[in-house]
Symmetry: C2
Subunit: 358 residues, 2 copies
Amino acid sequence: SRTYRIAAIAGDGIGKEVLPEGIRVVQAAAAKFGLSIEFTHFDWASCDYYLDHGRMMPDDWFETLKGFDAIFFGAVGWPDKVPDHISLWGSLIKFRREFDQYVNLRPVRLLPGVPCPLAGRKPGDIDFFVVRENTEGEYSSVGGRMFEGTEREFVLQEAVFTRHGVDRILKFAFELAQSRPRRKLTAATKSNGISISMPYWDERVAEMGKAYPEVAWDKQHIDILSARFVMQPDRFDVVVASNLFGDILSDLGPACTGTMGLAASANLNPERRFPSLFEPVHGSAPDIYGRQIANPVAMIWSGAMMLDFLGNGDAAFTAAHDAIMAAIETVLADGPRTPDVGGTARTGEVGQAIAAAL
Amino acid sequence: SRTYRIAAIAGDGIGKEVLPEGIRVVQAAAAKFGLSIEFTHFDWASCDYYLDHGRMMPDDWFETLKGFDAIFFGAVGWPDKVPDHISLWGSLIKFRREFDQYVNLRPVRLLPGVPCPLAGRKPGDIDFFVVRENTEGEYSSVGGRMFEGTEREFVLQEAVFTRHGVDRILKFAFELAQSRPRRKLTAATKSNGISISMPYWDERVAEMGKAYPEVAWDKQHIDILSARFVMQPDRFDVVVASNLFGDILSDLGPACTGTMGLAASANLNPERRFPSLFEPVHGSAPDIYGRQIANPVAMIWSGAMMLDFLGNGDAAFTAAHDAIMAAIETVLADGPRTPDVGGTARTGEVGQAIAAAL
Ligand SMILES: CC(C)[C@H](C(=O)O)[C@@H](O)C(=O)O
Ligand SMILES: CC(C)[C@H](C(=O)O)[C@@H](O)C(=O)O
């Protein structure tokens, strides 16, 4: 089979510590299952690059990346060097939008060996997906400031919901729910308070629901939905949400299953017109960078998701994905573990152990 | 001392079950501490009123209510009868906005006797306030729909942040933090993703922080902040947030301390130009209405907050507030308790027990 070309972008902070472990494990799985995966490294899309060049990425970033099969991405952001909205809108958010990675798929799963902050929950109890819209909604670049610097100053920020954007993410989520044993879907909303965009979202959910009569769906306001992630996380199967609500729920879900250090994600262009991007949900974490205590599992799990997506049903790729997941479970259960999951191991030791467990 | 006149509005669903218990306990405390509190009941601001009259409230609602000292409010909403955005924007959100109740103050506290969904947390570990902006932000009425009914359809929803609105909520929150032993303040933000309004919010936080050098403040993005409510709830002292973020955090906080059935809130006009409103955070809960299993503690606690605010430092009112809180703690610890906190008692029994414990 052919060689798959992956752009590897470490970014900032612990992105630089976990990416090598992700690559190590993906390479090990590729070797074992006879896949040809080739990584090309880029040092831009980082705050250091910004300090040198006055921009996060070279002008030809789109041309450079668009021929790759995927982007394997660490984390971006170092607020003491570059304000977050500049570093993120100049890199990650550009990728999502310009490569039309409109699905942000984020598993929430309680794994064996991971101390759970919720009382009385055991592995298997929590196992769902957050499906997050990834290109529009509350993350818009439309708006501005008036009467700047005076007492009358105000700021407008537009949220943008298009039928095109809303329907395609709902379709993806309903398809996913349909393919799972429980066939349940929960749509996050806030139509009681946010009275223009969210009632529209609800309308489109109801409309899409008609096409999936086998899926049992409901809608829940984001406030009580967040509360239920803590109180009844076993209720969820597929949760579909706008860009902002998905962002919140996909940090909250992993928190309820132990640690941000396990949270993987796939930013997908399902039509494969552009490269998809795979990254841990945790950020660059400047506060712990340099100590080699970052948990590499989120990055490695994202690597498994990447293989799964690249393979698109091919048996060897699926086997490689499954083997990585099994190796992650073995190492989380038996150690070595990083401090966030109760161990004392360093980032590299955990990566090596997972590669070895393959 | 004078008679305080309170408008009592039950609203819908369990609002009608818990409000009488709130009144019962406030009256008992008033009798004990020699306060004169007089309740006047209104049956509007309910979905049944809407079905009869085509609007949530009579046209002269503002004139009718503005002379009261406070509004004691159950809950509004019955989506099978009236869409939520119509019932809420026609009542609660109108009160907040037109009576300029710009502070929504919501305590988060782990009380003795309440089963905590977080592992290993005990009473005293979690004790903080969410201070929510209550009149602007993401809850705006500005926006609309274009190309309706076609494939090109889209919706815009404006978020509105004014210097006036942002500064006054920040000032309230910093003052509150300054008055507490730990003197810590956390500002919820999302300036890495929401790139126009949230950087402005951050700027105003930094500016306000200069006036409170004794307050140790930081800002945290709403995604990781939500995660920390689960992972490290003991870190928080005062959390200040925009309308939407405050809405989410003030359901999530109570979930982490056991149940929505305890979550009280005060919608304050601190200048006392208009009546303030006191209500439980839980909604009308149509799913459990009629079974008398709703927990009245959130309503009763809101009543205690009302007395505290009305008294404005007066010793008898403060004593009445403290006595209600002590009675709540006694009954939560010893029972009777409603099912959400592990008991089998009915709403009225709990209300009676708290009144008796006074
Ligand atoms: C009912 C709803 C409009 C309201 C809000 O979002 O403000 C409620 O959730 C609350 O928190 O008071
Ligand atoms: C870094 C930030 C812009 C980003 C987001 O909000 O999308 C992150 O929190 C995530 O969830 O991927």
